[in-house]
C-alpha cells in the first residue's frame, strides 16, 4: 500500500475525531477514500479499517449495503438515472437506454475512457422534474435525448469540475 497523501490522512483523522464514536464516521471515511481512489478498492477498505478500528468485514457489511459506495471501479462521472415510478411514467426507460446506447455501455458499465458509469437509481427526490438523473451531486431535470446529449458533451468537454458526492 502506498502512503496516503498527508491532506487525506489529516482529513480522515478529522472525520474520526469529530464524532463521539469512530464508528459513526465509517461512511464518511469510506466516501473520502472513495474520492481518493476513485472507488472503494480493497486497499481503500484496509485503509478504512485501520483508521476506524473496525474489521474489513464490518466495513464490507456497510459498503455493500449502500448504493452510493462503489466497491467496483466506476467512471469519473457516475450517472444515477432515476428509474422509480414517476420518472418511469415519463419513459425513463428510454432515457436510460438512450444513455447506454450513446455511451456504448451495458447497464452498470463504464465507458472505455473511464469517464462515465451508468447506474439505475432509486428515486432521487426530484420527481417534479421527472425524468431526472443525478451526476456527482447535481440533478438534471426533465430529460430528453437532446438534453442528455448536451449534458454528456458538457461533461466531456470538461467544463464541469467533478463535484463528487463527498
Amino acid at each position: 500500500m502506498s502512503p496516503l497523501p498527508p491532506e487525506l490522512s489529516t482529513e480522515l483523522h478529522r472525520l474520526v475525531t469529530a464524532v463521539d464514536n469512530p464508528r459513526e464516521a465509517a461512511v464518511d471515511v469510506m466516501y473520502a477514500l472513495q474520492h481518493h481512489y476513485g472507488y472503494l478498492c480493497d486497499e481503500a477498505m484496509h485503509r478504512a479499517a485501520e483508521v476506524l478500528g473496525m474489521t474489513t468485514l464490518e466495513l464490507e457489511s456497510l459498503a455493500t449495503f449502500y448504493d452510493y459506495l462503489y466497491r467496483r471501479p466506476v467512471g469519473r462521472y457516475v450517472i444515477h438515472v432515476c428509474d422509480s415510478v414517476v420518472c418511469w411514467m415519463f419513459h425513463q426507460d428510454s432515457i436510460f437506454d438512450y444513455l447506454c446506447r450513446t455511451l456504448g455501455v451495458p447497464p452498470g458499465g463504464t465507458t472505455e475512457d473511464g469517464l462515465f458509469t451508468v447506474l439505475p437509481a432509486a428515486c432521487v427526490g426530484n420527481c417534479h422534474n421527472a425524468p431526472t438523473m443525478l451526476i456527482n451531486g447535481r440533478f438534471y431535470d426533465r430529460l430528453t435525448p437532446e438534453a442528455v446529449d448536451a449534458v454528456i458533451a458538457e461533461l466531456r468537454a470538461g467544463t464541469e469540475e467533478p463535484v463528487r458526492c463527498k
Binding site: T55, T56, L57, E58, S61, T64, F65, Y66
Partner: protein
C-alpha cells in the same frame, strides 16, 4: 408468572419468557428458523407465526417476539397461521437449491423438516433461483451460500454471542451474503458451532463432510476430554471411526455450544499411528503373551527389590474407572500408590479446589454467566478452559465486570480488565478482591512495585464488594487462598479432563511424580507401570532415567514416546469405545457412553482397498481394551484379589462421593456435597520469594496443546509457532529485541524459540507454549536460562 393456554394446554412461565419458549415447555414445538434458545429472538424468518385468539395480543403474531402474558390463548394450528407459515416456506424455497441428495445437512436439516411438515411439495413460483459464489472459510467450516435462508443465526452467534468480527452479513435485500471479507480461516475458536446452528446445509462441518450421513452414524452421548470443563458432546461414528463431534445440550455447563478444540480433537481415535497391538519385549504379541510378560516383569522386580520398587503412574486424561482400577491394582499388589500429579502438593491443591465447592458456593458455567462481577485468577480462558471465554462474554454482555489476573497476555472477545501479574503475586489479588471497597492501603502494601496496576486493582476491590453475585474462577494453586466469604461463588479450572477424578480418588498419601523421579534416581524404583500418560510430558525428570528401569509397562491409546520406550505395551480403548465417568472442574460427575467398538476402521483395515477377507483372522484391530480391564487381567495374572467394580467400591468408601452411583448419574451430571476445607489440608505454600531470573509460565495452544489433540491429525499441526513471550521491559533488561532467537534451558538439550514482546505479559515471566520441546523447562529460568542464539 403469566398463565396461558397453548393448543389447549395450560402453561405457566416466568415473566419475560416468549410464547415460543412457553410452548416448548408445554410440549408444543412451534416451527422456527431464526429463534434459538441461546441466541434469542430475531423476528427475521417469520416462521413462528401463531394465532393469538384471546388475551392482550390478538391475531397472527410471531411467537418468538411476543412475551407470554396472562390470559393468552394461542392456537398454533389455526388455519391462518398454517397458511402463513406455508407461504414463508414457499418463499424460502423459492431460492433454495433443494439439493438435499448432495447436501451434508440432508437428514438432519431443519429446513427439510419444516418444508415437509409444512406441506410445501410442489413449486409454483416460475422465477429463476438465485446463485452465489462460496468462500473458503478454512479447515473446519464448509460454505455453500446457495442454501442459505437468511435466518441470521450465524451472524448473531459469531458477532453478538462470541464477539468476533471477521464473519457476518454483507449486501442488502435479497442479495444478503454471509461470509468473510475474503477467503480465509475463521478467527473465532468457536466457529465449529456454526455447523450445529445453521438450520440448513449452508455452513456444515468440513472434516465430517461426505464421511457419513448422520442417520447412518452410531451416536452416543459423550463428554469432552480436551479440558477440565466437561462440556457435553455427541459423538458420531461410522465404520468404527469417529466421524464428528457435535455439541450436546447441558444447560448447566456448555449450553448449546462447545469449542473447536473439543469439536475437532477427536482424530486420535482413528489415527494411523494409534498403537493397537500389544507388545512384549518390544515385539508384537498376543494380549495373553503381553499380559504374561508384564506380570512376570513386575513380579520379578517386586520380588527382587521389594514391592516398593514398583512405581505406578496414572493419567489425568483417564476416566475415573481407569483411575480407580489402577489405584485398586496398586493397593492389592502392595506397590507404591499411583502418582497422578507432578507433585503431592498439586494433588492436595486440586482436591482442595474441589472440596471448597460447598452447596452455597459452587457455581456451574451457566451460573457464572449470571454473575455480576467475576474475577479469574491464574487461568487463561482461551487456553485452559475455552468455553469459559464464552461464558464470561455473556456475563460481560449482561453488564458484569470481568477481571482477569494472569501472567499471560489475553486476547479475549469481551470487555475485561487484565492484571498481568506473576504467579507468585496472584494470591495477593485474591486478598484484594476480598478486602472490601476501600482496599487502597492493602493494594499499595501488596503491590508496591506495580503502581500502574493500582487503579485496576482498586476497581476490582470495588466491583467485588458492590456485586450482588460475585464469582471467582481460579486455578487450583490458589485454592488455599480463597476468601471465606460465602457470597462469592467458586469455579475451579483444573488442568485436564481427568484431573478432578484423580484428585478425588487418589490416596491422600500418593506420591508426586517429582518424588518418583527422585526415588528412581536413588535406585529405589526398578519398575514403572504407566497408564494413559506420557512420562516425557508429565514427568520429564523421570522419563530421563527410564534406562535405569528393569521394567516399563505402558497402557495407552496414543503413540507417545513413552509407548515407544515400553518393554510391554497393552493398547487401551478410548473414551469413544469404553465410555466412563468423569468429574468436571465444577465438581460434577458425568457419564459418557461408548459410541463404537474399538476395532480398526474399515478405511484403515485394507489400507484403502477393500478390507481383506481373511476369515481365519480375528476382527482386525480389536485388541484395545479398556484400561480398567487390563488392570483387572494384570491383577489376575499376578493372582491378586481385586474388587469387581473398582470405581463403585472406591466411591462407596469415599468420604464425599459415597452417595453417588456411577451407573445412574442424571443426564446433567451430579455434584456431590463437598465439605468445604478439608480438615487435614496443607496450608497454602509460603509465598515464593521473587526468584532471580524468569518464572516460566506455560500457555496451552488452543489446538494440539492437550495430549489428545496433539495426536489428532486435524489439530496437531495448528499449535502455532514456538515463541517465548516477554514483557518489553524484561526484554530490554536482557537486551533482547522482538524476533530474536533464544535458547531456553531445558536440561541437556536447550529448546530454541523466537522472542516476542508483549505488554500483556507480566514482568518477570516468560510465557512459552505447551509444546513437547518445552516440556522439560524448569519452573524458573536462572540468569543464564535464557540466552540469545545467533541466527545461523
Amino acid at each position: 408468572m403469566p398463565d396461558l393456554i397453548i393448543d389447549g394446554r395450560p402453561v405457566t412461565v416466568d415473566k419475560g419468557v416468549s410464547v415460543i419458549e412457553a410452548a416448548e415447555r408445554a410440549g408444543v414445538m412451534i416451527p422456527r428458523f431464526c429463534w434459538h434458545k441461546s441466541l434469542g429472538a430475531a423476528g427475521a424468518c417469520r416462521l413462528c407465526a401463531v394465532m393469538f385468539v384471546e388475551g392482550p395480543v390478538k391475531g397472527l403474531e410471531m411467537s418468538c417476539m411476543t412475551p407470554a402474558a396472562d390470559g393468552m390463548v394461542v392456537e398454533t394450528g389455526h388455519p391462518k397461521a398454517v397458511a402463513f407459515r406455508r407461504q414463508i416456506i414457499e418463499l424460502l424455497m423459492a431460492n433454495h437449491p433443494h439439493d438435499c441428495p448432495v447436501c451434508d445437512e440432508g437428514g438432519h436439516c431443519l429446513l427439510q423438516d419444516e418444508t415437509i411438515s409444512g406441506g410445501h411439495s410442489l413449486r409454483r413460483f416460475p422465477g429463476r433461483k438465485r446463485t452465489y459464489q462460496d468462500q473458503n472459510l478454512g479447515p473446519f467450516i464448509q460454505h455453500e451460500m446457495n442454501r442459505c435462508i437468511h435466518c441470521y443465526r450465524c451472524a448473531r452467534f459469531y458477532q453478538d454471542y462470541c464477539g468476533y468480527r471477521d464473519f457476518g452479513p454483507m449486501q442488502n435485500a435479497n442479495r444478503v451474503y454471509f461470509g468473510r471479507f475474503e477467503d480465509g480461516p475463521l478467527d473465532n475458536p468457536f466457529a465449529g458451532n456454526l455447523a450445529d446452528l445453521c438450520p440448513t446445509g449452508t455452513l456444515t462441518d468440513k472434516p465430517g463432510r461426505f464421511v457419513a450421513r448422520r442417520w447412518d452414524c452410531q451416536r452416543a452421548p459423550s463428554v469432552c476430554l480436551h479440558c477440565s470443563l466437561g462440556c457435553n458432546v455427541t459423538a458420531l461414528s461410522r465404520y468404527r471411526r469417529v466421524a464428528r463431534i457435535e455439541a450436546r445440550d447441558n444447560a448447566a455447563i456448555n449450553g448449546a455450544f462447545i469449542c473447536d478444540r473439543g469439536r475437532y480433537g477427536f482424530g486420535y481415535q482413528s489415527a494411523q499411528e494409534r498403537p493397537r497391538a500389544p507388545l512384549a519385549a518390544g515385539r508384537p504379541a498376543t494380549p495373553e503373551e503381553a499380559l504374561r510378560a508384564a506380570a512376570g516383569l513386575l513380579a520379578a522386580a517386586a520380588k527382587r527389590h521389594g514391592p516398593d520398587a514398583v512405581a505406578v503412574v496414572g493419567g489425568q486424561r483417564s476416566t475415573m474407572e481407569t483411575q480407580a482400577a489402577l489405584i485398586a491394582l496398586a493397593r492389592a499388589a502392595g506397590w507404591r500408590a499411583p502418582a497422578f500429579f507432578a507433585a503431592a502438593r498439586e494433588q492436595a491443591q486440586a482436591r482442595q479446589a474441589l472440596y471448597a465447592l460447598t452447596p452455597p458456593r459452587a457455581r456451574s458455567l451457566a451460573d457464572l454467566a449470571k454473575a455480576d462481577a467475576v474475577l479469574v485468577v491464574g487461568v487463561s480462558p482461551l487456553a485452559d478452559a475455552p468455553m469459559l471465554t464464552l461464558t464470561l462474554r455473556q456475563a460481560a454482555r449482561a453488564g458484569a465486570a470481568i477481571f482477569l489476573a494472569d501472567p499471560r497476555p489475553l486476547a479475549l472477545p469481551l470487555d475485561h480488565v487484565h492484571l498481568p501479574l506473576a504467579p507468585r503475586q496472584l494470591a495477593a489479588v485474591l486478598a484484594v478482591a476480598a478486602a472490601g471497597e476501600d482496599a487502597s492501603g492493602l493494594i499499595q502494601q501488596k503491590f508496591p512495585l506495580a503502581p500502574e496496576l493500582w487503579p485496576r486493582l482498586e476497581a476490582l476491590a470495588q466491583a467485588m464488594a458492590k456485586a450482588k453475585r460475585p464469582a471467582l474462577a481460579y486455578a487450583p494453586a490458589l485454592a488455599a487462598s480463597l476468601p471465606g466469604d460465602d457470597r462469592v461463588g467458586l469455579f475451579p479450572v483444573l488442568a485436564q479432563a481427568g484431573t478432578a477424578g484423580a484428585a478425588l480418588l487418589a490416596p491422600t498419601d500418593a506420591p508426586g511424580l517429582d518424588e518418583l523421579a527422585a526415588e528412581l534416581a536413588a535406585g529405589r524404583i526398578k519398575a514403572v507401570i504407566a497408564v494413559e500418560t506420557d512420562l516425557f510430558a508429565a514427568a520429564p525428570a523421570l522419563a530421563a532415567r527410564l534406562d535405569a528401569l528393569e521394567a516399563l509397562v505402558v497402557l495407552d491409546h496414543l503413540p507417545t514416546p513413552t509407548v515407544a520406550a515400553a518393554q510391554v505395551f497393552l493398547p487401551t480403548a478410548t473414551l469413544f469405545e469404553t465410555g466412563g465417568t468423569l468429574a468436571a472442574s465444577d465438581g460434577r460427575l458425568q457419564r459418557a457412553e461408548p459410541v463404537q467398538a474399538p476395532g480398526l476402521s474399515v478405511l484403515a483395515d485394507g489400507a484403502g482397498d477393500h478390507p481383506p477377507r481373511d476369515y481365519a483372522r480375528p476382527l482386525p484391530g480389536t485388541d484395545p481394551a479398556p484400561a480398567a480391564f487390563w488392570c483387572d487381567r494384570l491383577g489376575r495374572a499376578l493372582s491378586l484379589e481385586l474388587p469387581r467394580h473398582p470405581l463403585a467400591e472406591a466411591l462407596a468408601a469415599h468420604p464425599v462421593l459415597a452417595d453417588l452411583d456411577p451407573v445412574t448419574l442424571p443426564a446433567e451430571g451430579q455434584r456431590p456435597t463437598y465439605p468445604g476445607r478439608e480438615p487435614a489440608t496443607p496450608e497454602s505454600p509460603p509465598a515464593q520469594p521473587a526468584a532471580e531470573g524468569l518464572a516460566v509460565v506455560m500457555e496451552t495452544p488452543f489446538f494440539g496443546g492437550d495430549e489428545l489433540s496433539r495426536y489428532a491429525p486435524l489439530t496437531a499441526d495448528k499449535t502455532g509457532p514456538a515463541v517465548a513471550l516477554l514483557h518489553p521491559d524484561d526484554a530490554a533488561g536482557l537486551n533482547l529485541a522482538d524476533g530474536a532467537t533464544v535458547a531456553l534451558d531445558c536440561g541437556d538439550a536447550p529448546a530454541t524459540a523466537a522472542v516476542r514482546l508483549h505488554p500483556g505479559v507480566a514482568r518477570g515471566v516468560v510465557v512459552v507454549p505447551r509444546l513437547p520441546r518445552f516440556d522439560a523447562l524448569p519452573p524458573n529460568l536462572g540468569p543464564c536460562g535464557l540466552r540469545r542464539r545467533e541466527t545461523p
